[in-house]
């Protein structure tokens, strides 16, 4: 078995696609039309294109518990998932300039530095830099 995919629940796939590609710099990997306008839509990191795919999944629109869970995480400020970065401070500056909102500024946590931003699609995402 292999781990190749992580899924992120999003309310609007097209909006999520724009945010993750235009603001965060991810690249489209797969875009397969499914029923009812839903898509199997995956992205990869520009700097690691054969790395794991990120699935932008419209689960909260079709499965109520997913929506409830997502809302609860958002309200408490918990990240849905996290991405590695070489430099949290630099990303924080760059993304802030692009209008991305952070609920937590770069903060040291032992051997890592983390920051949390809003992906505008229902999730908090954490950036992590290993110190």
């Amino acid at each position: 078995m292999k781990v190749t995919l992580i899924s992120i629940p999003v309310r609007d796939q097209e909006k999520a696609f724009k945010f993750y590609t235009e603001k965060l710099g991810f690249i489209k990997k797969k875009d397969v039309p499914l029923e009812g306008g839903n898509r199997w839509l995956t992205l990869v990191s520009a700097e690691w294109q054969d790395g794991p795919e990120l699935l932008l999944e419209p689960a909260p629109n079709h499965f109520e518990p997913s929506k409830v869970y997502q809302d609860a995480l958002m309200e408490a400020g918990f990240p849905y998932t996290q991405f590695d970065t070489e430099n949290v401070d630099a990303d924080y500056k760059l993304l802030t300039k692009l209008g991305v909102e952070f609920s937590m500024k770069p903060t040291e946590m032992g051997t890592v530095k983390v920051a949390v931003f809003n992906d505008t699609c229902g999730n908090n995402i954490q950036l992590v830099e290993e110190l």
Binding site: A76, G77, F78, P79, S103, M104, T107, M109, G110, T111, V114, V116, N124, E130, L131
Partner: protein
């Protein structure tokens, strides 16, 4: 402040209260990051941070979740992938990232990535060739 941030602060005050230890392991990690290509061992690393090697081993594992040796191997494999993709030969790559034996490099590479260095390189090079042709 969000509930999450409060929780982080609470956990930090318990799990990361010893800044001296944290500075020590961060120093060791940075040293490995910058010197992965030479012959590193625990004696050397412990001299750099003025701590006993067994203490260092325990500390590093406590904060990073893996031993300095495991960390070093992962770093070397990651770097060797870059060299192989850039067309460096397997033997050159092996020594460029600090391994001393081709056999142990190939075995480790296969264990970590699922492919031998030669196969990995062939696939990567044929992929970039395909990209330029299509």
């Amino acid at each position: 402040m969000t509930f999450y941030e409060k929780e982080l602060n609470r956990i930090r005050s318990i799990a990361y209260s010893n800044q001296g230890q944290i500075n020590t392991v961060i120093g060791i990690r940075n040293y490995i990051e910058n010197n992965y290509d030479v012959n590193l061992n625990l004696d050397l690393l412990s001299h750099i941070q003025f701590v006993s090697k067994y203490h260092l081993l325990r500390l590093f594992k406590k904060y990073y979740g893996l031993t300095p040796r495991q960390y070093l191997i992962d770093k070397r494999i990651e770097k060797s992938k870059e060299h192989l993709i850039n067309g460096m030969s397997v033997t050159e790559t092996c020594f460029a990232v600090g391994f001393e034996s081709l056999g142990s490099f190939s075995t480790l590479f296969k264990t970590k990535t699922g492919k031998s260095p030669t196969k990995f390189q062939k696939e990567q090079l044929s992929r970039s060739k395909l990209d330029s042709e299509f």
